[in-house]
Subunit: 336 residues, 2 copies
Amino acid sequence: MQPSSRVTIRDVAARAGVSVATVSKVINERYGVSAATLARVRAVIEELGYEASLVAQSLRNHRTNVIGILVADLEPFSTELLKGAADAIRGSGFELVVYSAGGRTGDPVGWEKRYLSRLSGTLVDGAVLVTPAVSLEAVPGTPVVAVDPHTGPSHLPTIDSDNLRGAQLATEHLLELGHRRIAFLSGRPDLQSAELRKTGYLRALAAAGIAADEALIRIGAYDPEVSAASAHALLTGPDRPTAVFAANDISAIATVGAARELGLTVPGDLSVVGFDNVPESALCSPPLTTVDQPIREMGHRAIRMLIALINGDEVGPTHVTLDTGLVVRHSTRALS
Amino acid sequence: MQPSSRVTIRDVAARAGVSVATVSKVINERYGVSAATLARVRAVIEELGYEASLVAQSLRNHRTNVIGILVADLEPFSTELLKGAADAIRGSGFELVVYSAGGRTGDPVGWEKRYLSRLSGTLVDGAVLVTPAVSLEAVPGTPVVAVDPHTGPSHLPTIDSDNLRGAQLATEHLLELGHRRIAFLSGRPDLQSAELRKTGYLRALAAAGIAADEALIRIGAYDPEVSAASAHALLTGPDRPTAVFAANDISAIATVGAARELGLTVPGDLSVVGFDNVPESALCSPPLTTVDQPIREMGHRAIRMLIALINGDEVGPTHVTLDTGLVVRHSTRALS
DNA sequence: ATCGTTGTCGATAACGTTTTCCATGGTTAG
DNA sequence: CTAACCATGGAAAACGTTATCGACAACGAT
């Protein structure tokens, strides 16, 4: 009776004087065990502190009850998304393994693909891909849902938000404040969201009868360093913009930093609006006017949809787009 | 040859004209296979895109190559720690499952314990406990390392930082600025860190010959709401403090908020120093003077130590305390 | 020739479950 | 009194690996 090794179903069976089959039945609440034995087996399980081996169950059932979430890096957006996912996973009977690529740039393409093919069906039952770097099709047998998907056609189930409208809202806000020279700091060119935000910006400009100035469009790549550099260039160039719409909050915050370094004040000398409404945007100085995207909700939905997919449950629309909305804080001001 | 189901080691063996045993040997680079067959089997593996079933391996090896990280909630501290952990895990051959209790308060005690007993040895090979709510001993056979451990004696391997010294540094900084009425917003009373920060505060005061005023010590619980309420009480009480040392950055930021609501400016009317140096502390307004704790490094170390423990490798000291240091930003000012 | 050695390889028993199917004994219907 | 049935329980195969151990051939040394 040395508890040197794990207590197994066999131990329980022996102690309860039944077969392992019966024990298995009580664990899984199968039909065909009398009330008396059920009680007895339950008692023994309790007594021995028996926990079924998830590994053995997985092997037998072809189901691990683990789902993966793949992020390029743990920056504010994916962190926030992770919170939503963690919320949704709780009590679902699944566990969540997170894999962060660590913002590596050296990897040419498709760490997601490799990861997925290695783990699918053997460690995870499904995965959510956050801002995937590649447009991949699902591994057969392993459901995948994408959040903020890759550009390029893909038929993966998808969660995103209304990037187009959000970008229009942001740009219109700036226009209403009287700004005319509005720069745009673009996002990661391989992401649909980035493309749509740019389109939204251009449309709003066009609708206002303003010709887009290529010199005012720079790459931000959703990255602080890149954004800071671009913002610097923008602000030291000839005829500098009076406002910039950054494709995400990270870029916006970097822009504020760059402006400050140049002795410009926000929103005094420059209005800045971001996108995402990550918690940092409310905290930073000045609090950022930005486009709200219900990030946590997106994480929540992604997990719920994935679980439905895994269970073969009825899953509603396979592509859901959540609303965006402008939240005005203090990084924008009417042009004087 | 229908790829309806996963390709198994048996398929590879058949195609290569060898036994499964041999295939297993080449997978695990065991001795006893000729160069010729090795090459052939490798080729077949490549051709069929075979990936060994982690589940089956786990069952056989009693090792899952998964480690768990348990956090009470994904607030900035644990998020930052998670980044360090994710970094450390990459390329280690392990996967990371994160479990967040979701900041639930209803759970009396020991969700960690339950989680661990359910998963240990069956899904995870070991776990790191972040700010554990309970002082538990290791599950036999499942290594555990605690980060910022529970108060109360425990012999778990531990990573923490020099909380005592950090708190003294913070308090001394305030003293040097001429503050005498320095309030303290305490942390989660069940955590060693909280206790030590309080002790540090008290010692620094004592060393300066200042009697601690119980009215200036309030509970912050590392929680924004609780902290805001306590800060409000502190600042509206009689003879309000000119400075507050908050037991973590979250509390400090909440304090700044409370002050602002009361029409007080920081650092003009009130100096505030935090603890942790989470990224938010640099971002917020005003940028927070705080005590730096190498959070990511702590996550990194925790994972590395855990892996060593799992592998039975030589693990150095089983309790490591990292240095803390004061970082002065703009939330503190000399008393005028 | 005989005997160990060395180098390859394969049969097989685990690992801890779940499920299918069969056996048993008791009960009810005819 | 027999036939059919139901309720309960167990034997055993399977899931996909890995480790042990024995088989066998080739070979050099005696």
